[in-house]
């Protein structure tokens, strides 16, 4: 064992078991890929619009991507892809894309009226699509340059949320947090945004439990963080949520405005927002291909399972889901350093030896996914109005994180059960993490877990149960397993949930210029291709 792998390989695990888990997950996601490749959704098509530069709102305030996609959908012609019709209309009338959208918005133009040969359309749209790809790649390079210049904080990176509802107030708080030592800032979205089937427009100042995700808000916050980053000499990263009914649109906006991380889970929307599963699997794939290109890190949402399920009893469902999310992520062309699998510190604090179980779980995940920037979520479920006690749960969470070498560390707030964070709450939480992580900085190098002890045994038991569950899902099918309530103790019908009407079968002449421009792993399961 080299000194480096020693830090990670703390447990003696059965390599065959791990391979079985990956094989099962590969099979599970592989069979889903057929469904994914055969469908598009209203969200994917709106994303195509956005990437093609369609922006703004109509007179009624409806975002133009929605106007365009709805127009095509109303005609029942979304199966060809919105790009196909936009391209056709431009060619037909000899107008620009902008002109076409404008005319459509004022009801002057039916873009689905005059289909043109696909090759012509492709030729017309390619330069526009390519320049969108260009912009995303430039952002990625800009980020790399800034990181090179300013550097990043030490891991575990401290991740805090701002959630005042007002982007300008958020900027104040985000800058303060960065000065206090935060490495990553997430602007939590307003309650309910994930169920909006459009992305709001412009700078917003009224959200509830969060601030709307809009392109302008992204831009404003990015600028604020760049500014404070220069001041403190650190590249401060920005996060948002590529979840909900606009999953791929937000991914695109994030890639265009140089966000650095995105919450992006293959199943979160299904389980926690009752979004239709057929839709979600299609959306997540397209989203992640964009994120892959943009060099964003994704954060998966397994931590959420433990808010409704028990963290001790259902620890294995987190692991099983991580294997699935991993395979979906690889399929979408994400590199290992982009795959921030999520988990959480959610065991009952009154459990004897609970800390041992948390260490087992965190270390197991670290060891199963050694190259990934694992995201560790704080205790929330057992947080109460007793802020003093809550501060302690967060302390032990911080301790486990530094002890097990987690990467992305979402800070718990002592007021979790009360309100979205106040300025002082965030300060106290950052102080908490900085104290404990610094004070225990190299403890991980100095402790070895007893062979066949409580911790190692627990890790092995969880892994075994996860593998069994994956084998079961493989035999049942993922959609069927979700119908049965395999994850988070939540059951969802395949054809139910929100957004199902936005799922459209691709027609054979479906056209989407980004299909070929975005990375994905060769369907055979080989290397990532950027065709």
């Amino acid at each position: 064992m080299s000194p480096d792998t020693m830090k990670i390989d703390r447990f003696e695990l059965d390599a065959g078991m791990i391979e079985r888990a990956r094989a099962a997950a590969r099979a599970i996601t592989g069979s889903m890929q057929q469904h994914i490749d055969a469908h598009t959704t209203t969200a994917v098509e709106r994303t195509v619009c956005r990437l093609l530069g369609i922006n703004g709102v109509d007179e009624a305030g409806v975002p133009l991507p929605n106007v365009v996609v709805d127009a095509v959908a109303d005609k029942g012609k979304l199966g060809q892809g919105v790009a196909y019709w936009l391209g056709s209309a431009c060619l037909e009338h000899g107008i620009t894309l902008d002109e076409a959208v404008l005319d459509l918005a004022i009801g002057k133009l039916d873009i689905t009226a005059c289909p043109r040969p696909k090759e012509e359309v492709e030729k017309a749209l390619y330069p526009i699509a390519a320049s969108a790809i260009e912009r995303i790649i430039e952002n990625k390079q800009k980020r790399e340059a800034l990181i090179k210049k300013l550097g990043l904080g030490q891991t575990p990176w401290l991740y805090v949320i701002v959630a005042t509802g007002n982007i300008y107030e958020d900027m104040v708080q985000a800058k303060a947090a960065a000065r206090q030592g935060a490495d990553i800032i997430a602007v939590i979205r307003s309650t309910g945004q994930s169920l909006l089937d459009y992305v709001p427009y412009g700078a917003t100042t009224e959200g509830f439990g969060g601030t709307y995700a809009t392109q302008e808000n992204f831009r404003l916050m990015r600028a604020a963080l760049d500014e404070v980053g220069e001041e403190i000499g650190k590249y401060v990263r920005l996060v948002n949520y590529s979840s909900g009914l606009c999953m791929p649109e937000i991914a695109a906006l994030g890639a265009m405005e140089r966000l650095d991380l995105m919450l992006s889970d293959s199943m979160y929307g299904i389980l926690f927002r009752d979004i239709n599963m057929e839709r979600t699997f299609v959306d997540q794939f397209f989203s992640r291909r964009i994120l892959a290109l943009g060099g964003l890190i994704i954060n998966t949402g397994e931590d959420n399972y433990l808010t409704t399920d028990d963290a001790y009893e259902s620890a294995h469902t987190v692991i099983a889901s991580q294997f699935i999310n991993e395979q979906f992520a690889l399929a979408a062309g994400l590199s290992p350093w982009q795959i921030g699998l999520g988990h959480a510190f959610q065991m009952n604090p009154y459990m004897e030896d609970g800390l041992l179980n948390e260490i087992a779980q965190a270390q197991l995940i670290r060891q199963l996914f050694p190259e990934y920037p694992i995201k560790f979520m704080p205790p929330t479920k057992y947080m109460t109005g007793n802020i003093f006690f809550g501060h302690l749960l967060n302390a032990m969470f911080n301790f486990v994180s530094v002890l097990t070498g987690q990467s992305i560390h979402l800070l718990g707030m002592l007021t979790e059960a009360i309100h979205t964070p106040y300025l002082q709450d965030r300060h106290l939480s950052i102080e908490n993490a900085k104290y404990i992580m610094n004070n225990a900085r190299h403890l991980a190098d100095e402790v070895v877990y007893a062979k066949d002890g409580r911790i190692e045994k627990r890790a092995r038991a969880v892994l075994e149960k996860a593998v069994d569950l994956l084998d079961y899902i493989r035999s049942r099918g993922l959609m069927e397993a979700l119908e049965e309530g395999t994850f988070a103790a939540v059951k969802r019908p395949r054809k139910g949930g929100k957004g199902y009407d936005g799922v459209v079968e691709k027609s054979p002449d479906y056209y989407n210029p980004f299909e070929t421009l975005l990375p994905r792993r060769a369907p055979a399961g080989g290397d990532v291709t950027c065709w």
């Binding site: 206090q180 439990g209 300060h427």
Partner: protein, 248 residues
């Protein structure tokens, strides 16, 4: 009896506070904090910690001695009027006093997706070892889950002829729950159904007082167990039925 906060001696009035002022750290900020505490009626206010937590923000921890006392004899405690019964007593009570099953419908309304609290009250498994309403043979319980529009809830309640509507509201930032809860009352009134239903809300920031203020019959806060809610519904329904019988 007059009571005051207690630190280590009866009536010492000791209280701990923490807060942030939008001022740069320094003597002036400390003095501002002290003056504020004095205005709040705190005697001998001590700023025990002062720290800059952002360019123009200072965090304080303070202690002081509260000069107010509360006369416990004059307190009126707002709480739904119920006699506590257990699972068996409740079912028996319903059989005897109502003579049919009670129909209830529950939902997390508006954009709220926090189902755990409502589930704790409604689902089989219940909460803290206390069975949920679904488990009661004498209740027909429908749980519509999360993010249910008020309109949908009202329509479904009327359709099933619900005796009680149970609404959960967990997200309360900027008081977002208040208009949402109010809207439900308006909708029910518009449909002429308000008087025919026991209207209940619950959540971590809900008190009976607030509920009544918003036009609900009862409100249940943190730590509520299902049997409390079931007792209330059964007794309130029995009361109303008796009332109607008398009126007729």
């Amino acid at each position: 009896m007059l009571v005051k906060p207690y630190g280590d001696t009866m009536n010492d009035g000791a209280m701990q506070l923490s807060f942030t002022l939008p001022m740069r750290k320094g003597d002036e900020a400390r003095e501002a904090a002290r003056v504020l505490l004095t205005r709040m009626g705190l005697d001998d206010p001590q700023i025990v910690h002062m720290e800059a937590i952002g360019e123009e923000f200072t965090f304080f921890v303070a202690y002081g001695k509260c000069t107010f006392a509360v006369d416990t004899d004059e307190l009126t405690v707002a709480r739904a009027q119920v006699e506590k019964m257990d699972f068996y007593q409740i079912n028996k009570f319903i059989k005897e006093h109502i003579g049919r099953k009670i129909k209830v419908i529950g939902a997390c309304t508006g954009t709220d997706a926090h189902t755990v609290g409502l589930d704790a009250i409604m689902n089989m498994k219940g909460f803290h070892g206390d069975y949920g309403l679904e488990r009661y043979p004498e209740f027909v319980a429908v749980n519509m889950g999360s993010q249910v529009p008020n309109e949908t809830l009202v329509a479904k309640a009327i359709e099933m002829g619900a005796d009680a509507i149970l609404v959960s509201q967990v997200v309360t930032q900027k008081n977002v729950h208040v208009p949402n809860l109010t809207r439900l009352v308006e909708l029910l009134e518009a449909e002429g159904y308000r008087d025919r239903v026991i209207l209940i809300c619950g959540g971590p920031r809900i008190s009976h007082e607030l509920a009544v203020e918003l036009g609900y019959d009862a409100g249940f806060g943190p730590g509520t167990v299902p049997s409390e809610v079931a007792s209330y519904i059964a007794q309130e329904l029995a009361r109303r039925l008796a009332q109607t019988a008398r009126d007729e």
